[in-house]
């Protein structure tokens, strides 16, 4: 049973003690960000800030929706103790069964409607999150809704946006993102204003799916329905035909300029570093703000993992990669994107390895965008989810000259948020990719050329292993991995 709205999710977190309510006044200017960041780094509960300096009673801020795999499990209605592998399997099962949204006439997000000259972005308690940020970031744990004017593809994406002034928002969705592609393909050439809506505080699974690198023309709302196992209720915006989740806490509507810009950033981004700002951000004028009574502003104090971004993207990026590889008939077992790798590292398990298979994987995963820049391919005797095993395979099977392949990535396929690139590479969307083939070459003779792995599982007779396992606790052992 899906959560009807974000507030039901908070109630669920209350029941499992996965949220802290801070009732004393906190400052939107850095204090909220500092508490949120510290909570991630301590792997503490999520935080609901109930009293915000300079803002009316009832205006609240929430941080840390999906900052742990536990909270992802709760958001999916699963046992909070569900192991990561189990979350991956359930996410995969649900994402493969999309459910179309339903359109409703009204919804809680319309309880307050501010339009036109009455719009004042400073009426919302937008936090100034990290010292050194370029401004107050209104779009962190929020997602943007845009539409292709020709195909009517409705895209949800999670991109950073900050307040420029009371009516203007400027952000930096990557040039190669779906929003960037749509903007430069369909609106900029015609000098058309591009309608956009920014959604805060929807069902957390809507936010999660917005982080997923789904294929072009895929409506994320369908996949959010699949994840929720119930359709998402959508309602029309006040000033455009865009559709947004009706139970959202806050919706900000506007139009992106095709020929106007403003300075944006810098911002402490998802890889865990603050990188340079942009002279020419994506600028939009706000035409309406709608919100629930006593709205809850959802945010993320991004930084070193784990946090909502690295945890959510661990699933969404991995399963998107897996779908692509399966579509190309590559014999994979699993794909794991470890949160501490911030989607820049992926581990791909294969049934049968070798350079050719590894290179095929690299080509498929970097064809349109090389968001990942290090790919490790492991045999099926290695559990991709177990980094101890992955490092062992990397150390022992990856040949320093014949197992590592590096190549340049030409613009605009590079990931402009890759800290190890130069600022010039980032700005031009150039980069590089490294492939680590940690598999045995298939041409090696398994009888006399392939070393035999020395592990409990492989090196001992079945009957003996069963005896050892049966007596394990009798021997005095207590702890198992």
């Amino acid at each position: 049973m899906a959560f009807r709205d974000f507030r039901e999710f908070i109630e669920a977190l209350d029941k499992t003690r996965d949220v802290v309510h801070i009732k004393q006044e906190v400052d939107w200017d850095l204090e909220v960000g500092a508490i949120g960041r510290r909570a991630y780094e301590m792997q503490a509960p999520a935080v609901l800030f109930e009293k915000i300096k300079d803002y009316p009673e009832g205006f609240r801020i929430f941080g840390g929706s999906l900052g742990t795999f536990r909270r992802v499990a709760i958001a999916m209605g699963l046992d909070p103790e569900t192991p990561v592998k189990g979350l991956y399997a359930e996410y995969e099962r649900r994402i493969n069964q999309p459910i179309k949204p339903v359109i409703v006439e009204d919804g809680p997000c319309k309880q307050n409607i501010i339009v036109g000259d009455d719009v004042d972005l400073y009426s919302l308690p937008t936090p100034y999150i990290h010292e050194g940020d370029g401004g107050r970031y209104i779009g962190t744990w929020a997602f943007e809704v845009t539409q292709d004017p020709d195909t009517r593809w409705n895209n949800w994406g999670m991109y950073r946006f900050m307040i420029h002034n009371k009516r203007l928002i400027v952000g930096w969705p990557r040039y190669s993102s779906h929003l960037g592609m749509m903007l430069h393909g369909k609106y900029v050439p015609q000098k058309r204003l591009m309608p956009i809506a920014l959604v805060l505080g929807a069902d957390p699974l809507c936010h999660m799916v917005a982080t997923a690198p789904l294929q072009i023309n895929a409506d994320e709302a369908d996949y959010a329905g699949g994840l929720r196992q119930e359709p998402v209720e959508l309602v029309k915006c006040e000033t455009s035909d865009l559709l947004v989740p009706a139970n959202s806490e806050i919706v900000i509507e506007g139009e992106i300029y095709p020929d106007r810009t403003a300075q944006e950033g810098p911002f402490a981004e998802y890889p865990g570093y603050r990188m340079e700002g942009a002279k020419n951000g994506v600028l939009w004028r706000v035409k309406a703000i709608t919100y629930r009574n006593s709205p809850i502003f959802t945010m993320i104090s991004l930084g070193v993992p784990p946090d909502d971004s690295s945890i959510a993207a661990s699933l969404t990026a991995a399963l998107a990669m897996k779908r692509r590889l399966i579509k190309h008939d590559i014999p994979i077992t699993e794909v794991y994107v470890p949160p501490y790798g911030v989607t820049h590292i992926a581990v791909v398990g294969v049934k049968s390895g070798g350079n050719n298979v590894a290179k095929q994987i690299k080509d498929v995963l970097t064809a349109r965008r090389a968001d990942v820049n290090k790919i490790m391919v492991v045999d099926d005797d290695v559990d991709p989810f177990d980094f101890d095993q992955v490092i062992h395979a990397f150390a022992t099977k990856c040949h320093p000259t014949r197992g590592i392949f590096c190549e340049e990535v030409e613009a605009p396929r590079g990931n402009a948020l890759t800290p190890c690139y130069t600022a010039q590479e980032r700005r031009a969307y150039r980069g590089a990719i490294a492939l680590f083939d940690c598999t045995w070459p298939p041409e090696r003779n398994k009888m006399n050329e392939v070393p035999v792995k020395n592990s409990f599982d492989i090196m001992f007779p079945k009957e003996l292993k069963e005896k050892v396992l049966a007596n394990w606790e009798t021997f005095g052992f207590k702890e198992n991995k």
Binding site: Y122, T261, A262, K279, N280
Partner: protein, 96 residues
């Protein structure tokens, strides 16, 4: 009481002293409108004593690192709230 502003610059050499320049500044006045951005025409000085009637301008690098000494800024007038230009303009230029 001097007002305080903040600006971000790709290179400290981009801040030209003692002549009219155009730059984006953020208002650091405490309150709910702190960090409001605007584009202004202004005279700058790296030494506040050389611009005694100026306000305080804190300077951060393009990655947000604060230069320890503030500059002085004398705002001559507004230069609009936004710039003419393409979104992702610098990426498009870098691509060429």
């Amino acid at each position: 009481m001097k007002k305080e502003y903040l600006t971000f610059i790709p290179d400290i050499k981009d801040l030209i002293e003692n002549q009219e320049v155009k730059l984006t500044i953020k208002d650091l006045t405490p309150g709910p409108r702190k960090y409001d951005a605007r584009i202004v025409k202004a005279i700058l000085s790296s030494s506040p004593t050389r611009l005694p009637d100026g306000d305080v301008l804190w300077v951060r690098s393009w990655t947000g690192v604060l230069y320890p000494q503030p500059w002085a800024i004398k705002i001559i007038g507004g230069a609009g709230e936004i710039e003419v230009g393409l979104p992702h303009g610098e990426t498009l230029r870098a691509g060429k």
